[in-house]
Symmetry: C2
Subunit: 240 residues, 2 copies
DNA sequence: ATCCTTAAGTGGTTAGACCTCTTACCATGA
DNA sequence: TCATGGTAAGAGGTCTAACCACTTAAGGAT
């Protein structure tokens, strides 16, 4: 049953190429505003052929990392200014090390979004929300369990909100969230706090009270910022 | 000076391929959950070669339109559920016809986001925000002018907020916003209302009042929903 | 009936050639 | 002298035709 691959999967050239390009950009080897080497030369440097390299470049361009224009040099864009949510996911997916330091930024944005889609979900489908949360009273007290459950909840709330834009935005957080949540929920206080939140939200849904749902969600999101700070400070303490 | 190219640019095969694939997905020719034809066959059908087709497929996969896995058929994903913000942009970019009916969804999300980053921007850089809005008192009363100015304002506010995640999200709205804003600001009431907003926001910035900034922004965002409804009803009326 | 081999079909990658666009240089001519 | 326009180099865009690697399911051995 899954048994945790003993050996890392052999990285495919295309994926590896993308990773190496991103790391080269992030560590300043290809600074923002600079030009990438020509595709033919870059392909040689990376040990892949041009079509493979180009596929990687096309993906990066779609996320806003680079700007490709016929006849001109490919330019490294100011991805924090000109990129889209894809850059968050790409960083989370390819940076093997270090918990990113912009998690608070993500949590801050979540303070604005989560109360809105939670309220809408409770307005439109209170029964569905309540049903979903029934299983949440008996969650196993493990980080991975909470990480998965919490993600599923938010995802379902955006869907029940009836506004697909919420879902699209949340999906952009997916990879980063996966990295973050394991650290966050390693904190026993975080798990305890979320249990209370799930209970409160369920009550709000059962009593058809979108106002209350919005309120308890906002409070939870605000407190999660502080809990995150505690969690990163405890990294390595092994508190589970 | 720009002079509106008399002839449409010749669509490049790669771009055309992407457009045709998306339209085929949107119109149900390739329904959600179905399998795309094999790359070799699909390339023939589209009149391009495999490398070109693959570049388009890679881009679509990055946005969440399709799922590509080695050895298996490429599957069309439920993009509204599993895609990311890129699908919004891709639709706006490739759908030549019809103003999208999910603009209200975007405006609703904006109600949650704009007050937050506006408040943060006024907290961190009130002078910069006020300076920026100085030029907004003499805006030419034209739809295109307002569309550009409004976009620039929101973009700058997300930057001044100090939270890059706001910027990344907003960039995901870029293409759709471009289509929407021209319709929205064709309404004289919309332009008048925004003038008031720019003035109010400038006052809030000058008096170092983030609370007020947040408040006037929220009010503006809420009213924009109604104004949009009026604007779409007036389509073709030519009110400028 | 079960297991394992195997072949067919899929996406992944390679290689090298040719086409198109952009730019910069430079000869030309007002 | 300066504007014009041709030209060549170099960038990305596309094509061609193979071969590699993974997945699946059919079919044979046990």
């Amino acid at each position: 049953m899954n048994e945790e691959n003993r050996w890392d999967a052999v990285p495919k050239p295309a994926e590896l190429t993308e990773t190496r390009l991103i790391e080269a950009i992030l560590d300043g080897h290809f600074p923002v505003g600079s030009h990438l080497p020509a595709e033919r030369e870059l392909a040689v440097q990376l040990g892949v052929t041009r079509p493979t390299l180009r596929e990687a470049l096309q993906r990066l361009a779609r996320d806003g990392w680079i700007e490709i224009r016929h006849g001109r040099h490919t330019r490294v864009r100011n991805y924090w200014r000109e990129g889209n949510l894809g850059v968050l996911g790409t960083i989370a997916r390819h940076k093997n090390h270090a918990p990113p330091d912009f998690v608070p930024n993500l949590l801050e944005v979540r303070i604005s979004l989560a109360p809105a889609y939670t309220r809408a979900a409770v307005e439109r489908k209170p029964d569905h929300v309540a049903d979903l949360l029934n299983n949440y009273t008996t969650l196993e007290d493990a980080p991975q369990t909470f990480a998965t459950a919490d993600w599923d909840l938010h995802r379902q709330l955006t869907i029940d909100s009836g506004n697909p834009v919420f879902t699209l935005i949340l999906n952009g957080f997916s990879d980063l969230y996966g990295n973050m949540a394991l650290i966050y929920f390693s904190l026993v206080e975080a798990r305890a706090r979320s249990r209370v939140f799930y209970q409160d939200l369920r009550d709000a849904a059962l009593s058809n009270d979108p106002e209350a749902a919005e309120s308890v969600t906002r409070q939870m999101m605000i407190e999660s910022l502080d809990l995150w700070q505690v969690a990163v400070e405890n990294l390595g303490g092994g508190e589970s």
